[in-house]
Amino acid sequence: MDLRPADRDELAGMLRAATAEGRVLDIRGSGLHARRGHPFTADDVLHATGLTRVVDYVPEDMTITVEGGVTVGEVLRLAGERGQGWPQAPSQPAATVGGVLAAAAGGRRRLRFGPIRDSLLEVVVATGDGRIVKGGGRTVKSVTGYDLPRLLTGSLGTLGVIVQATLRLWPLPMAERWFTTRGDADEMLDLAQGVLADLHRPTAVVAGPTSLHVCLTGVPDDVVAPAGMVDAFEPGGPGAGTVGSPAGTVEASVPPAALPALARQLVADGFDYEAWMGTGICRARVSAPEDVQAVRGMATAHHGHAQVIDGDDAMRTDPFGPLPAGADIMQRIRASFDPAGILCPGRFAAADPVPA
C-alpha cells in the first residue's frame, strides 16, 4: 500500500498504527535513489513527499526551515531569489530535503563547503512509533544537547521520518564557474593535483577517466580558467555522471591523498568513475555484483571503505562492507527510535538488533 501523509500529525498516526500492527514501512522521498542499503521487503511504502510546507525563511539569518518533502530545487529557488544558496546540496533538483539528508547525499561542492551534515541546524523527526522529536537548534551555532541532526544525516530512513529541517544557507558567490578539459586519466589526475596544490580553496575538482571538471567560486578576479582548462558552460558542473546508471554505483571513500592511486586502479580495471579530488570520495560505475567487491577491495587496500549507493537487488547483497565500530551503540539507538523495527528493517542491517 502507498501511504501519503499530508502533514506531520497524519504521519505520526500512520507510524503509530504501523508500529502497533507490525507493518514494515519503506520510507521514500522522490524515490530518485531508493536503491540504497540492503534490499528488504516492506508492507507499505510511506511517501514523505506530501510534507511540502516552507515553514520559515529568514533571509537575514540565512536559515530556512522546510518540511522533509520540499525539493532541493524549491529550496534553491527560494534562496536564489534572495541571493542565497545551499552549496552543500546535491545536483538533483527533484530530490527531497528529507531524502537528501537521510542519504547524506551531499553535492560536488563538498571540497569547499563541506559535507551536507554541516548544513543541518535543526531537525524534526517522526520516530518509528510516531513520536515527534526535535534536535539541534535554528541558530547558526548551537551546542544544546546531543547532536540529533548529525545522527539523522545518513540514517537512510531507519531512525525516523524527517519531518522538518532547518538548513544553513550561504550567500551566493559573486562568481562561480565550471571549467573543463579532456585527456587521459593520468593527465587528468596530474592536472587535478596541480589545481589542488596551486589554488586556494577550489570548490570542486572532479576527475573522470577522460575529463576533468573544476569549479571555482569567489570574486570574479579569482574565477578564471586554470592553465589548460576552458569554460565548461555547464552551470551545475558535469552532467549526472556516473550516478543513476541502470547498473549501479559504488561510492568509495579513501584518505584524500590516496584518491589518485585509487582512480588509476579503477581505470586499469576498466571502471568508469567520478573522483571528487581532495575529498577522498570516488563514485565508480559497476555492472555486476563482483564489481562491488573489486572496488571495495581497492578502497580497503587504501585504508578506506566503499558503499553501494545505487544498484539493483543483486548488487546490494553487501552494500556497506564490514561492520562499523560501535554497531552495538547504533543498534541501541535504533531500538529506541524505532522500537518495533518497522522502519526499513534490514536496509542497514548493522543497526538492526541481532536476533537472539
Partner: protein
C-alpha cells in the same frame, strides 16, 4: 569513602602509582571546580598517560560501579568537568603527545590533553593551522574542545570543532576502545563521531583525536571599527553578512569591556565608543580586497567613527590579544564573573543587546559584553564579588532573565560552552519531554549504566523511558 571506592582507589594506585592517583584534600578541592562558578565534590583523581591506562581505569570503575568524570584543562564554563557526587575524575592533562602531521591528507592525531594553541604553533611551519580558536586556547585542551564542541572567533567562516574532528578514539564506559570516523570520509552507519563531539564527557573518554588541519589563508586583514551606539554596530554585523561577505571573524565588544581590556592590554582601543567590532577577512588577495571594501562601505553607511586596519602582524596580534584576554580583564573590575553563552538569530542582535542592558540595569549588576557577533553567540559577562551574597543573587537572577530572553527571541541556550550543570535545568525551555527523552536514549546507547558524567546536560529525571514495547504488544514477525 565507601568500601567499593576504597577498593577502586587501591587498584588505581597499583596501576598508576601513588603520584598519579590524587586523593588529598587539596587536589580534591581543585578538581571540584572548573572555569565556572559551579562547585562540586571530588572523590579521587586519576592521571593516566596512555589509552591503555585509561581503558584499565575505566574497566576498574566499571567493575566497581563508580561514576567517571573526564577532565581536560578545567577551563569549561558550565561545570561540565566538575564531579558532583564523588566518583572518579579521569584527567587527561598528561596525555599531551602529538602524532606526526599527515601533510598529504592535512590531518594529525593528537592526544586529548594537548592544548589547543600548541597544535597551531606546532604546524605553522607547514603552512597549516587548526582553525577552531577558543579565546581560552592557550589553556584549554583538545579533549575538552571535543567535549564541548568548542567554538572561537574564527568559527564563523571555518566552522566549530565538530567540523574539524575527522575521528576520535574513545574508551567506552566498560573499558572497550573504539575508533569512530577516520581519514577516509563518511564510514558506513550512523555518524557516532558527530554525537561524541559535544557530548560533554557523557558517552566515554576521548583518548585520541584526529584533527583536520587547514591551510593558512594567503592573505588576511584585520580591522577595528568603533561606533557610538551598540545598535549601529549590531546593524553592521547583519548588513555585512547580508551583503554576501562572511568574514573569518566578526566580534563585538561593548564599552565596559573595552575599558577593562584597554587598561590591561593597551591596544589603543577607543574607550569612549559604545561598541567596537573586530572584523577579520581572509582568503586570496582579491577576496580580501573585495571583502574589506564591503565592510568599510557598510560600516560608513552605519556611522562608523574610525576604521583602523592593522598595519602589520604585530598590530594584528595586539588586536587579537585584546579580544582573547577579555574574560581575564574582567578580573580588574570584580574578582569573579558569571556568564551565559546563549545564541540569538543574528536579526535579533539589536533587541537582545537592549534587553541585556535593561535586565542588568534593573538588577543593578555590571555587565560587560564581548562576543561572537557574526553568529549571534552572546557572552554577557556579569562581573561580581561572590563574597557578596546579595550581588551574587542579583547576578544569578540577571543571568536567568537573559537566558529566557534569548530563548524567547528564537535563540538557544549555548553556542559553544555547552550545557554542563549550569544550563541543564533550562533544557526544557527549548526541548519538550519527547525531545529530551530521545536525547537520553542516545546517551544511554553509549552508556547503558549511566555512569559517565552523570547529572550533566540533561535535566534531572530525564530518562530514556520505556520506549520498548511490552511483550504482549510485540507483533508477530518483527525482530525486536
Amino acid at each position: 569513602m565507601t568500601t567499593t571506592a576504597g577498593a577502586l582507589a587501591d587498584q588505581l594506585r597499583h596501576l598508576l602509582g601513588p603520584d598519579r592517583l590524587l586523593e588529598g584534600d587539596l587536589a580534591r578541592n581543585l578538581y571540584s571546580h572548573d572555569g565556572s562558578i559551579v562547585g562540586g565534590d571530588c572523590g579521587i583523581v586519576a592521571l593516566p598517560e596512555t589509552t591503555d591506562e585509561v581503558a584499565a581505569c575505566m574497566r576498574m570503575a566499571h567493575e566497581a560501579g563508580v561514576d567517571v568524570v573526564p577532565r581536560g584543562s578545567g577551563t569549561g564554563l558550565t561545570g561540565g568537568a566538575v564531579p558532583l557526587e564523588g566518583g572518579l575524575v579521569i584527567s587527561l592533562a598528561r596525555m599531551r603527545a602529538m602524532g606526526e602531521v599527515d601533510v598529504a591528507n592535512s590531518c594529525m592525531w593528537v592526544q586529548p590533553g594537548v592544548l589547543n594553541l600548541d597544535v597551531s604553533t606546532a604546524i605553522a611551519h607547514l603552512g597549516l593551522h587548526y582553525a577552531p580558536d577558543p579565546s581560552s586556547q592557550q589553556a584549554c585542551s583538545i579533549g575538552g574542545n571535543v567535549g564541548t564542541n568548542a567554538g572561537g572567533p574564527h568559527c564563523l567562516a571555518y566552522g566549530v570543532t565538530v567540523q574539524h574532528v575527522l575521528g576520535v578514539e574513545m574508551v567506552r564506559p566498560d573499558g572497550q576502545v573504539v575508533v569512530l570516523g577516520g581519514v577516509a570520509p563518511d564510514p558506513p552507519g550512523y555518524d557516532l563521531r558527530g554525537v561524541v563531539v559535544g557530548a560533554e564527557g557523557t558517552v566515554g573518554v576521548v583518548t585520541r583525536v584526529l584533527l583536520r588541519l587547514t591551510p593558512l589563508p594567503p592573505d588576511v586583514r584585520t580591522m577595528l571599527l568603533d561606533f557610538l551606539s551598540v545598535s549601529d554596530a549590531s546593524a553592521v554585523v547583519q548588513a555585512v553578512i547580508a551583503a554576501g561577505v562572511i568574514p573569518a571573524a566578526l566580534e563585538m565588544m561593548d564599552r565596559n569591556m573595552a575599558m577593562a581590556v584597554e587598561e590591561f592590554v593597551h591596544a589603543g582601543l577607543p574607550t569612549d565608543a559604545a561598541a567596537l567590532l573586530l572584523v577579520e577577512v581572509d582568503g586570496t588577495p582579491a577576496e580580501v580586497e573585495t571583502a574589506t571594501a564591503v565592510v568599510e562601505h557598510v560600516a560608513r553607511e552605519h556611522g562608523v567613527r574610525t576604521v583602523r586596519v592593522a598595519q602589520d602582524e604585530e598590530e594584528r596580534a595586539l588586536l587579537w590579544k585584546a579580544r582573547k584576554t577579555a574574560f581575564g580583564a574582567v578580573a580588574r573590575v570584580k574578582p569573579s564573573y558569571y556568564l551565559h553563552d546563549c545564541v540569538v538569530p543574528r536579526t535579533r542582535l539589536v533587541e537582545i543587546m537592549e534587553a541585556i542592558g535593561e535586565i542588568t540595569e534593573r538588577e543593578g549588576v555590571m555587565c560587560l559584553n564581548v562576543f561572537h557577533a557574526g553568529d549571534g553567540n552572546l557572552h554577557p559577562i556579569i562581573a561580581l564579588d561572590r563574597s557578596d551574597p546579595d550581588e551574587t543573587a542579583r547576578a544569578m537572577s540577571a543571568g536567568d532573565q537573559i537566558v529566557r530572553a534569548c530563548v524567547a527571541m528564537g535563540g538557544t541556550l549555548s553556542g559553544e560552552h555547552g550545557i554542563g550543570v549550569e544550563k541543564r535545568d533550562y533544557m526544557p525551555l527549548v526541548f519538550d519531554h519527547d525531545d529530551l527523552e530521545a536525547q537520553a536514549c542516545v546517551r544511554r546507547a553509549f552508556d547503558p549504566d549511566g555512569r559517565m558524567n552523570p547529572d550533566k546536560v540533561l535535566p534531572t529525571g530525564t530518562r530514556c523511558g520505556e520506549v520498548g514495547l511490552a511483550d504482549t504488544q510485540v507483533p508477530e514477525g518483527t525482530w525486536i
